[in-house]
Amino acid sequence: MNKNKYLHNPKDWSRRDFLTRAAAAGAALGTGKALAQDAPKPPSEPAGALANAAVMGEKHTGMTVLSERPLTASVPAELHHFAATPNDRMFVRNNLLTPDIDAAKHRLTVKGSVHKEVSFSLEELRKNFPLVRTQAMLECAGAGRTGFVPRPSGTPWQLTGGMGCPVWNGVRLRDVLRAAGVQNHAAHVAGQGGDFGVIATAAPVIRSIPMDKAMEPHTLVVFGMNDGPLPKVHGYPLRLMVPGWAGSASVKWLHTLNVLDAPFKGTYMDTSYRIPRDAVRPGEKMPPDALVTEAWPVKSMITYPAPNAVFKLGHSVLVEGRAWVGEGAIAKVELSFDEGVTWQAAQINNATDKYAWRIFSVEFKPAKAGFTTALARATDDRGNSQPMVARWNPLGYFWNGVHRVGFVVEA
């Protein structure tokens, strides 16, 4: 995997950051007639922010950086060939900078439609509530966006980029909410994180989730990932984990839970993260009744073989992958080795945690030498199957088209 495919030279990052800051400072100083208006002044240094080089230094060399500011990065499907996603392969999707937070001083406040406003240190969260360990999917709403034609704006995630399924360590959100006493008329809970932008006017990242999902026992306030501390870029010291739902609901660097009587009103609820109910023509505006992106539709990927792998004729290939659905369960996974003309059922490993992906496999014995492809198609317990091509939508969310990998069989 080529780490330098985009803009990956870590030495270059400090300079890029510098240029962006210099450009920002220039705008604020009003250089040039058109720019002389009073634009808010950005900080000269992003104090309290972690450099991209520090984040990427802990990541796998096969991770592709898709944007330096805000930082977004992901690995391809074949690097997900693990039972649970290791930290160094977990995707990065910031909206703003990566804050460097002092865990010792960090507190989580619960307020709004509660009987009593409460606040907890990390130590108090650990002591006061039962600890939970669960493996669960986290997937950006825009994961796989490059599959859409024409390409909508937004992070150009690879077809299987922008998702992962690590183990999470934390406490149940419902336990924390009950400690404050949720009022009867409460409808949503909004998480707010401590990330900040280069300019003071950058809107805080706030999303709210309905009370049912907040009270689901797998919805967590997490402080650990894969049984270690949460890495800084993944929300250290505290984040929400809203399993199976669009990743933006799992607010990172969480410091406030605001219990609301209605969905939160804000850009990350009302303008971004919306998807039309029905098909729209590419280029058309978002319909006013578009839905908030919540649970991911059924999806799967092939993690073995890697694209372009070479095998010997006469040997069988254990084609393997992962399948998941935002809510519900995987009912079956089928594979096709003839571009979708015929399909055969895959073996699926026993279910583990409710929101974890399922491992599937098929032993494939190539009948002849040459270029071969494998397609995987998952179906959930409500009868929804993956489409060959996901329905186009203005912001490019929920790509769940059938994944296809090509490999070579030698005589």
Binding site: K5, T20, G26, T31, P40, S153, A203, G283
Partner: protein, 200 residues
């Protein structure tokens, strides 16, 4: 040894086939997006207002309809972009002209481009010089014309300017510092310095 070479060769052959056959893998084989916005009417304002919270690739990797750009500008203002109401139209005009899915961009504006094949043009682009400098207009840093006028009379102008490009600095043109370019070779520095001095 021979076996390994054979395998590598076959892999490359296979790869070519796969690239031709993989209808479902568009992203992996795309060239990286440009690090600076295309020069043209409105580029200074768009850079100053947009290339702030996010880098320029968020625009250069994208081609949208005019309506989608309009939606994006609204979305970004909601997210805190410091765009005044009067600035929306010129930014929209720029984006809809240069990053339009449905129409080719206009020919490059003369004042901000270099001749085709000019080695200096490559250096200017590769080192993000154009993020802060333009030929005619002061953007973040001074225009190349101003720099040429200031240093041009000096007999060792190219050497002085090459050293300044390498070291960066602040205070000559204002408080916004220029970052160093320590990675450039002496030949590249000379190339850039002489090009800038020709912009009188």
């Amino acid at each position: 040894m021979k076996g390994r070479f054979d395998r590598a060769f076959r892999l490359v052959t296979g790869l070519t086939l796969i690239i031709a056959a993989q209808a479902n893998a568009p992203a992996q084989d795309e060239p990286p997006p440009a690090k600076t916005l295309a020069p043209g009417k409105g580029v200074e304002l768009t850079t100053a207002r947009c290339v702030l919270c996010h880098d320029a690739t968020h625009i250069t990797r994208t081609k949208l309809s005019r309506g989608e750009w309009e939606f994006n500008i609204k979305n970004m203002i909601e997210r805190g972009a410091p765009i005044a109401p009067a600035e929306i139209a010129p930014i929209l005009e720029y984006l809809a002209a240069y990053y339009n899915r449905e129409a080719a961009p206009p020919p490059p504006a003369a004042a901000t481009t270099t001749a085709e094949g000019d080695p200096a043009a490559k250096l200017l682009n590769a080192n993000a010089c154009l993020a802060c400098h333009q030929t005619d207009k002061r953007v973040v840093g001074p225009s190349f014309r101003e720099v040429a006028a200031k240093y041009g009379a000096n007999s060792s102008a190219a050497t002085t300017l090459a050293a300044k490009i390498k070291q960066g600095g602040s205070g000559v043109w204002g408080p916004v510092p220029m970052p160093p370019n320590a990675g450039l070779s002496d030949a590249d520095l000379q190339q850039l310095a002489s090009w800038v001095l020709r912009q009188k």
